[in-house]
């Protein structure tokens, strides 16, 4: 009884911590999570994304991330792929252009994906990728008490300015077993805004 009273009096039993377990990293660094190891291998900006039939133009600029994920335990889709700016504003991958909006993870096998965001100028400098199993949605409720990788994309002011002026175009790629082709080419005139 005494021990029980001690616990109930001195441990905040009405406090429930739902925060995610955040694992920080940088570009090129492998971040180990409960369900996968994830690495952002490259960060580019694009004025167009092309497939063999389409060419998409951004309303802002396309921020293009090459991401490698190696699944742990089982095959799962990684849906939480929010870009977050220093003000805490979230941006989701675009469905236009043919990049991945979720990464199909395979246990023990690397999955290579291009994740592309149509973002305004202010989203570039200081942006981070928040990678997780579940989507952030509006308040992170689906990610509570789960691992989240928070990866600094290393975009400083000068780099953000250069990215905003880009005229490069990249071939879009979804989840593949081989790394994406990141050879830039000039953006087609037809999609310039």
């Amino acid at each position: 009884m005494g021990v029980g009273r001690l616990i109930s009096d001195h441990i905040p039993l009405d406090h429930v911590d739902a925060a995610s377990f955040v694992h920080r990293g940088d570009v090129g660094e492998r971040v180990r999570l409960r369900f996968a190891d994830v690495t952002v291998t490259d960060v580019r900006a694009a004025r167009a994304l092309t497939t063999h039939t389409t060419a998409a133009a951004p309303a802002g600029v396309f921020l293009v991330l090459a991401v490698t994920a190696v699944g742990r335990g089982s095959d799962q889709n990684y849906v939480g792929l929010d870009l977050v700016d220093p003000a805490g504003i979230h941006y989701v991958p675009t469905v236009r252009g043919g990049c991945a909006t979720a990464i199909k993870g395979r246990a023990g096998v690397p999955s290579y994906a291009l994740i592309c965001y149509d973002v305004p100028r202010q989203a570039l400098e200081g942006a981070h990728l928040q990678f997780s199993l579940a989507p952030y949605d509006n308040d992170g409720a689906f990610q509570r008490r789960d691992d989240v990788a928070d990866i600094d994309l290393g975009i400083h002011a000068a780099e953000a300015a250069r990215m905003w002026r880009t005229n490069d175009s990249y071939k879009a790629s979804m989840t593949e077993l081989t790394p994406p082709d990141l050879t830039p080419s000039p953006a087609p005139k037809a999609v310039s805004r």
Binding site: T54, G97, D118, V119, N138
Partner: protein, 217 residues
């Protein structure tokens, strides 16, 4: 002392007296509230309990942006076209596409699903067939600049010139159509579902307009 005053009060009398004292001692605001309630009940047979008339919806104009749920929406023009290849083509032979061109942006601080715009937009007198369940058809949305489908979500701070596209039945010959934009209401907490921080589609209109329709071959 009169005989009437000397007569002991019955139960009814005591109750009446207590009620009178209770009413007299109420503050003026409570008396006025009660009076308004009584007035409403008395006028109920004549419409006293009916809700006030809805505020007339705004008229859509070219230059005036409207907040449609989380999106800033500016009507540009309405056209009917034979197709919008490669983005869209009519589903039936001889049919056409009814298109609203508009500028759409997300001025908020989170990505917003495009369905929160498209579900609010319907057209009438435009030769557009209702959906299979009988409800008014809602449009598909395309980026005018590159003809890609705009689905999923629109990120904060970006703006698109969009084509909102409905299938149009063969034989429509009008030169005007009616656009209706349903009102949406933001719910920070929703006790009925697990979806907090969401926009709810309401029955009433935010805006309506009769718009001229440009016919393109």
């Amino acid at each position: 002392m009169s005989e009437a005053e000397e007569r002991p009060r019955g139960r009814a009398g005591r109750l009446t007296s207590a009620a009178t004292t209770f009413v007299v001692k109420r503050p003026r605001s409570q008396k006025l509230g009660a009076l308004a309630g009584v007035a409403l009940l008395v006028t109920a047979p004549f419409g006293g309990l009916r809700s006030a008339a809805d505020v007339p919806p705004e008229h859509v104009s070219v230059d005036k942006p409207l907040m449609v749920g989380p999106f800033r929406f500016t009507f540009v023009k309405a056209v009917t076209v034979s197709d919008l290849e490669p983005a869209a083509k009519p589903s039936v032979e001889g049919g056409r596409l009814f298109v609203i061109e508009a500028r759409v942006s997300n001025p908020g601080e989170r990505p917003e699903p495009v369905i929160e715009l498209t579900r609010a937009l319907t057209v009438q007198d435009a030769g557009v067939a209702p959906d299979t369940d009988g409800s008014a058809a809602t449009p598909d949305m395309y980026d005018v600049d590159d003809s890609t489908t705009l689905s999923g979500s629109i990120n904060p701070g970006v703006s698109y010139l969009v084509a909102l596209v409905w299938d149009q039945q063969p034989g429509w010959t009008g030169d005007h159509a009616r656009l209706r934009i349903a009102r949406q209401e933001y719910r920070d907490k929703d006790p009925l579902t697990l979806d907090d921080h969401t926009w709810w589609l309401m029955d009433d209109a935010l805006a309506t307009a009769t718009v001229p329709v440009e016919v393109k071959k």
